[in-house]
């Protein structure tokens, strides 16, 4: 298959960026999107030109590195998948494909298709944990957890921290990301002691990092490669209000 790529090239956060056109030729329909870019990059490297910078690592949709907006959609067409799980058979032969980074004020650009998502780490550092030191934990089975709660906690815990939810949101909100962690821990008995303190700290950090607010468009859920439900945002809001009122 052959494609025409329109790729966002930007040297660094201070330089201006622009779309640059590259042909991608003789691509197997079974290639993943990342493998297709690697073919283009090998060609560029052999000509001594600067290859397209991008992040991708595990290539099986779990590390959360890939951060490409393809034809206007974070991670491209196809639901419940990351860029590295997207295969070229999802595109038409001869198609023009537009590739940009995940754009958000809270994700400063590093280069080309790579952004700095350490704002997500700072949200977790503010409270996305249970304060338990190594050692001293009680026997694992001394805390029975109803299977339904464990399953719902797991559904939320699947977040890979890629940032598609932010890139897909017109407000650049990180509500789905933050809520997934808040809800995971709020569902579990282990998470109760810090439940309200946690939600306040995480939401405040989220606001301070420059993320926007939720206006219930649910674009985040639509583009989330792990299909995390927006219901967790409602759960986070409820806990946040409770925490603020009870203070």
């Amino acid at each position: 298959m052959n494609f025409t790529l329109h790729v966002w090239r930007q040297k660094n956060v201070d330089s201006p960026g622009q779309m640059v056109i590259y042909p991608a030729r003789d691509i197997s329909p079974d290639s993943s999107f990342i493998e297709m870019i690697d073919v283009v990059n090998s060609g560029l490297a052999e000509k001594g030109e600067d290859p397209i910078a991008y992040e991708a690592d595990c290539l099986e949709g779990i590390c959360g590195c890939c951060s490409m907006t393809i034809n206007g959609i974070p991670h491209g067409p196809g639901r419940g998948a990351t860029t590295c799980q997207l295969h070229m058979r999802s595109f038409q032969d001869g198609e023009h494909i537009y590739i940009e980074p995940f754009r958000s004020a809270a994700f400063p650009l590093v280069k080309d298709l790579m952004v700095d998502r350490s704002s997500f780490d700072r949200i977790i550092q503010a409270g996305g944990f249970i304060s338990v030191n190594t050692g001293g934990a009680q026997d694992a089975n001394s805390i029975p957890i109803p299977k339904d709660d464990a399953d719902l906690a797991f559904d939320a815990a699947q977040c890979i921290g890629c940032g598609a939810c932010v890139a897909g949101c017109k407000n650049g909100a990180a509500m789905l990301f933050t809520a997934a962690k808040v809800a995971q821990l709020a569902r579990l008995p282990q998470g109760q002691p810090e439940r309200y303190r946690r939600v306040v700290h995480m939401v405040e950090t989220m606001d301070n990092e420059g993320f926007g607010s939720c206006t219930n468009q649910y674009e985040c859920e639509a583009v989330c490669p792990k299909e995390i439900s927006v219901r967790y945002i409602a759960e986070m809001n409820r806990d946040y209000i409770k925490a603020k009122l009870c203070k």
Binding site: I62, H87, D116, R117, Q125
Partner: protein, 636 residues
């Protein structure tokens, strides 16, 4: 170089307890005077950095990703072993110890393995306390499943994403310490050299991947948790960024590298589909709990799987290993698949594949039950191959997956360089010549949460706590790193870095892969230097060193692989026996099983670097089996 394993005396079950008492402690008020560098923030490094900070040390953690949550531990699917015996099926610490020693084909260190089995139970407690959402029964208690190489159900799991959930647990503990200011996290920084001062590890040199700045970092001790080297084969189940650079550069500074030829080829991966493929995808071994492996009895059978009647299928694992069946250990399952394909029985367009069939489990348990167990894996398979595994059998083939070899460490996890500790997949000690499924997560977390935090104290308590800063040794190492970077950028050749990596990988897979022999290993030892020479004359690394330059990053890693691969082949050639993942065609039984030579090769082979262009020197650590008698490893 002397290899002193420092195994404590006394009965195996008491060694660790006794040793913990005998080790020196650092006074709580003094701990903050010690700086510790932890390189790598996967399961081992993340858990170690968090735990050391909780204890009070000043920790500097480094990763080359933009966040510690991206380490490749995250991709582990199946589960984590622990001798909890919750299912009441006869498990015990001793049985987990026994299974792991036997699974490793008697090439691991008994004392380390026993300690691993002992602390396995604490890991589960710790992770549950952190909020890791393990699978549960309706009664609210934890669920277990069985895994290859064991006849008890001791594997804890979180759907097919156990590694992700455990890593996020360690990451949350680490994040808490970063938030408290006890860990300084350095992201986008790649370690490019180890600094040794007066024989002790005292720091590292890193390159900031965003700005290209070469930086020196000083500390009282250095911990490497930098994973394995399966990407030496180019195509493997590992993430693209996995590499041997940190370990290999420490090796060049004096750390012995043990058993580099022990590599694990995982039996259940999606077969290769084309020449531009960047990696192979693993399908969790847990699938073998309910899937049956088979090939057609007739070579080159053109029929679709569904049209081949029962009598014309060879369920070869069930036939050859009736007591373990489809749950035979990885090395055995992989070799059997290769053998079937070598005999022309392979399936799929490349003929390098065997079936993993769920038809019988689906009719026995129903589609919903199978979907609840493996839903995400089935989806992943369908997404990649465009085939529905609920309808047609999966096609699988072995792929490089894990490396049991690594930097040599003593019982305290310290390398041959005092002050340099190595944990997780990066060290060599616990899995011998073959790792059992669900044991990598166990070892990474055992080292990071429960072993290193004790043993590093014993080292630190013996050295002064005076503040440490970068000195002339740091400056010299940094200037070497700068020189190599400049050299790579100046070659201006015609071939991409990937093309060299791919060429090396194909060579290694062919000559030092699932089956090896003397002649092919010797050919590899001749051919690798030629590729290396061409690399240094004809590689193209565009751009500059003063910016983000991913080709430059890769070039440095491939340059190290071009040296390391030769060491692997030398190790494989030296070991005139077959054991675990190391299968030498000359050494096999009449029915094709691995033939060990305990008389001559019951040792860990640790290689000393003797300078550029010189042959490495072999040191032997004898392995003594007092608790699990040396026996032929049979799964029949």
């Amino acid at each position: 170089m002397e290899l002193d394993s420092k195994i404590p005396s006394g009965p195996i079950a008491d060694k660790w307890t006794k040793h913990r008492f005998e080790m020196k402690l650092v006074n709580p008020a003094n701990k903050r005077k010690y700086d510790v560098i932890v390189v790598g923030t996967g399961l081992a490094g993340g858990s170690a950095a968090a735990t050391l900070a909780e204890l009070g040390y000043n920790v500097h953690a480094f990763c080359f990703h933009g966040s510690p949550r991206r380490a490749h531990s995250i991709a582990a699917q199946g589960g984590i072993n622990a001798a909890k015996n919750y299912p009441n099926d006869g498990d015990s610490i001793h049985r987990l110890f026994y299974d792991t020693v036997k699974g490793g084909d008697f090439r691991s260190r008994e004392a380390n393995v026993h300690r691993l089995a002992e602390v396995s139970v604490n890991i589960i407690d710790q992770c549950v306390a952190q909020g890791v959402p393990f699978a549960r029964e309706y009664g609210g208690l934890l669920d277990n499943r069985s895994f290859g190489g064991a006849q008890v159900s001791r594997t804890f799991y979180a759907r097919g994403q156990t590694g992700q959930q455990l890593l996020l647990g360690a990451y949350s503990a680490l994040s808490r310490q970063i938030g408290l200011g006890k860990v300084r996290m350095h992201v986008f920084k790649e370690m490019l050299d180890l600094v040794v001062v007066d024989g002790h590890a005292k720091g590292i040199i890193t390159r900031d991947l965003r700005t290209g700045k070469i930086e020196s970092h000083a500390a009282h001790a250095v911990v490497l948790a930098t994973g394995g080297y399966s990407t030496v084969f180019f195509l493997s189940t590992n993430a693209k960024g996995c590499n041997v650079t940190a370990g290999y550069r420490a090796h060049r500074r004096g750390a012995a590298f043990a058993n580099p030829c022990y590599t694990q080829i995982h039996p259940t991966c999606i077969p290769q589909h084309g020449d531009h493929q960047a990696k192979l995808t693993l399908m969790s071994e847990s699938l073998r709990n309910d899937g049956r492996v088979w090939v057609p009895k007739k070579p080159n059978d053109p029929r679709r799987a569904r049209d081949i009647p029962e009598a014309e299928r060879d369920y070869y694992l069930e036939r050859k290993y009736p007591s373990f069946g489809n749950l035979a250990p990885r090395d055995i399952a992989s070799r059997s698949a290769k053998e079937a394909c070598d005999n022309g029985l392979g399936v799929g367009s490349s003929k390098r594949g065997v079936y993993l069939d769920f038809r019988d489990s689906i009719s026995r348990l129903g589609k919903d039950a199978i979907s609840a167990r493996y839903g995400n894996l089935f989806d992943m398979y369908q997404r990649i191959t465009d085939e529905n595994p609920y309808e047609v059998p999966m096609r699988i083939y072995p792929a490089p997956h894990y490396t049991m070899g690594g930097l040599w460490v003593d019982y305290n996890l310290m390398s041959t360089i005092p002050g340099l500790f190595v944990i997780g997949e990066a060290n060599f000690s616990d899995h011998g010549a073959n790792r059992l499924g669900a044991s990598a997560l166990m070892q990474g977390l055992a080292d990071g949460y429960f072993v290193l935090p004790y043993t590093i104290g014993d080292y630190l308590a013996r050295i002064p706590s005076t503040p440490i800063t970068a000195g002339s040794e740091h400056a010299a190492a940094a200037s070497e790193v700068t020189k190599q970077t400049e050299k790579l950028l100046s070659i201006d050749g015609k071939r991409s870095v990937d093309s060299f990596h791919r060429e090396l990988g194909m060579l290694m897979l062919d000559k030092c892969g699932m089956a090896r022999n003397e002649q092919r290993l010797k050919e590899a030892i001749e051919q690798i230097p030629a590729i290396r020479e061409e690399f240094w004359e004809n590689v193209s690394v565009p751009g500059s060193g003063a910016e983000l330059n991913q080709q430059l990053e890769k070039a440095g890693r491939v340059a190290d692989y071009l040296e390391f691969a030769e060491l692997m082949c030398r190790d494989a050639l030296m070991r005139n026996e077959s054991c675990g993942g190391h299968f030498r065609e000359e050494y096999q039984t009449a029915d094709g099983e691995a033939l060990r030579d305990d008389e001559n090769y019951c040792f860990a082979g640790a290689w000393e670097y003797t300078g550029k262009g010189n042959s490495p020197k072999l040191h032997r650590e004898p392995l003594v089996f007092e608790n699990v008698p040396l026996a032929i490893r049979s799964y029949k």
